[in-house]
Each structure stands twice: as C-alpha cells, then as structure tokens.
Symmetry: C2
Subunit: 182 residues, 2 copies
DNA sequence: ACAGGCATGTAAATAGTTACATGATTCG
DNA sequence: CGAATCATGTAACTATTTACATGCCTGT
C-alpha cells in the first residue's frame, strides 16, 4: 500500500477512540486537531472510502432515528498502522502566519500603522485563547490525558503569543519616542 | 485586477528592499519568511511573471559576470499595492505540526513511547532555534527593525516550545510514577 | 411551515511541493 | 577537470479549500 496522508492518520486516530461518521469527524477536528492539523469534507469523505477499501477502518450503517448514517470503526490493521506512524519521529511542522509576514514588511508603513498589525495579531490570539478556553470547559473527565495536554499547550501558546505582541508594541512605541527626543 | 496571492506579497515585500532575482528571492525566503511563510520555485517564477505583467514589479537584465540574470524591482504601483495589503488586518494563521498531532493520539502507544514524541519535538525546536541563532549572527546593523523583531520572536517561540516539551515530558513521567505507587 | 442541524458527497479551483531539465560560471 | 553554485523554468503531483447539491429529520 502507498503512503497514507496525514489526514488519513487524523481519521484513524479519531475513530480509534470511538466509531464516528464523516460528519462527526469533521466536527471533532474543528474543535480539536484543527489548531495544528485541519481537514475539510473534501478530504475526509474520500479518505474514509480509501481507508475502508484498504481495510484499515470498517463502516457500518447506524442511522440516528430515521436518518441514514455510516459510522466507521478502526480495524486491527488500522490500529497497527496508526501505531507504526506514531512511532516515527514527526517531520512536518509548518506555520503560515499572515500577521508575522506583514510585521516582517512593516517598514513600508508609517510607525503608527505598523503598530496596528501587532494589535490585530494580539486580538487574534486572544480570540483563539477564548475559543480554546470554551473547549476546555466543555471537556469532562476522561482517561486519555493527551488531548488535554495538547489543549493546554494551545492555551499557553496563545497566551505567550498575545503577550509577545503586547511587548513588541510597547517596544515599538518606546523606540519611536526615543527617536523624537534625539 | 484579481486578488494577489500571499506569495505575491512576499515577493513585493522582498524586492521593495532591493532589486532581486528569482533565485535570490528563494534564498532570502529560505532564511527569513519561510519560518512563517514558505515559497518554492514553482510559485516564485510564475508569480514574478504575473507581477511584471501587472506592472507591480519591473524586471531588467543584470548579468553577474557573464551569467544571465533578471532582477526585479518594485514599481510605484507595486508599492501602493503592498501598503494597501499591509493595512488590512491579517487573516490566515495556520499551523501544521505533526508532533502535536501525534501527541494528541499518543494514548495509542505505551507511555514510554509516547514520551519519545515529546523528545523528538523538543529536538526539532532546538534545531530550529540554532538555525535562527545562526541567522541572527549573520545579520549586520540595518535600519529596518522589523525583520529582527520577527526573528527574535521566532527565537523566543522556539525556546518556549522546547521548554514546554520538557515540562510535559516531566509531567508524563511523574504521572506514570504516581500510578505505580497507587 | 420553516429554520437549522445532520449527513454525504463532489467539482472546481487554488495552493504548494518535488523533481527534473538545462546550462553557465566559479572555485579548488 | 569536477563539484558546487548560480540561474530560470516547467510538469506532474499532492494537498486543501470552497462552494455547491441533495435530502432527511427535529424542534418551534
């Protein structure tokens, strides 16, 4: 079998906890992994088919009320595949942050407008922080500690980032002041 | 004119400082923006043509020695376009971190193997930190303070991240100990 | 009745990487 | 001379998003 995509492992990992439908997987992703690994319907549904064909997950019809619904559960092969992947050292770690990109080029703007970039970035991070806090509240007691570790990491990260924006804003305003008093 | 891609603004921002060839742009990206916004030859060269056609940059033949070479400089229109973009609040901020993804699913592994994920992640972040430090050393004195602000932000971030990995590793080992003593 | 959520899916477009082709020049 | 680097480019592939289509069910 060819290499599986990272999205495939997101699915394997999520259906390992409990059987889920494509729709549910998308909902869970949007409240958990999407902060460090997103996935859209356009990836999830085709991937579910591929994984089922490869025998790594198994789908069965489990309607909710009268509503048609296919839930997938992981197979023994799927679990082995997931564990094999988990054992390999992680490779990909990318960031695409338009705020940092704009800040990098901010010399093209007057100082007071450059500072605005930092303010936007801080607001974004605080919004994410609130979002994560809401998710943290929702979670009850569960045995698996890892999702909570990662969630708390996200909280700490967004706090660090917001704080950094604040400090850099202050630094910029300070240096503007210095220049004026020279 | 249609919406420009983020890569287009990377190019506009870089050629604004000084005229550069596609090859040089790629090299600069790899030592600066690629930590928060990457770009490959497959994006850069076609984008240079588009931007030149749109009149936002202008290319001219400037051979190095006998070696053919086209350098691009920003036009007045290009600078206006760049500034207009910089003034809009940043939208995109994504992360794809395979380490966090694996950690999220680490319950599928025995604890001692789960801890390995954190060790790999820490090593990765320390490697990035060293890389950034090397870049910091290289930079001489320049008037534009923003690239250095962003670089220092990257240094602080990688340090925070490595430290977080260390703390989480300790926490995991502690909780494993607790379980044993119950 | 109708809005909103549940549910599955696909088409088209955009984004981005990788690998390759080509060829000149410089340095050891 | 040979390796590395400068330099430009493209083709093929993979990834990913967006938007849409479809239709049922539930609650107000």
């Amino acid at each position: 079998m060819e290499q599986l995509s990272a999205t495939a492992y997101v699915i394997l990992g999520l259906v390992r906890n409990e059987p889920r439908s494509g729709y549910e997987i998308k909902a869970v992703v949007d409240n958990s992994t999407r902060f460090f690994w997103a996935a859209s319907y356009g990836q999830i549904y085709p991937e579910l088919k591929r994984l089922a064909e490869a025998g790594l997950i198994a789908g069965s019809d489990v309607p909710t009320g009268g509503r048609k619904r296919t839930v997938y559960e992981i197979t023994a092969d799927g679990e082995e595949e997931l564990r094999a992947w988990l054992r390999q050292a992680p490779q990909t770690f990318e960031m695409r942050d338009e705020g940092l990109l704009k800040l990098f080029f901010a010399d093209a703007l007057p100082r007071d407008e450059a500072v605005e970039i930092l303010r936007s970035m801080k607001a974004q991070r605080l919004a994410i922080n609130e979002r994560l806090r809401a998710i943290e509240q929702m979670k009850g007691e569960i045995e698996d500690p890892f999702p909570m570790i990662v969630l708390r990491g996200g909280l700490e990260f967004s706090e660090w980032f917001a704080d950094w924006c604040e400090r850099m804003e202050a630094q910029l305003l300070d240096s503007a002041l210095e220049k004026r008093s020279e």
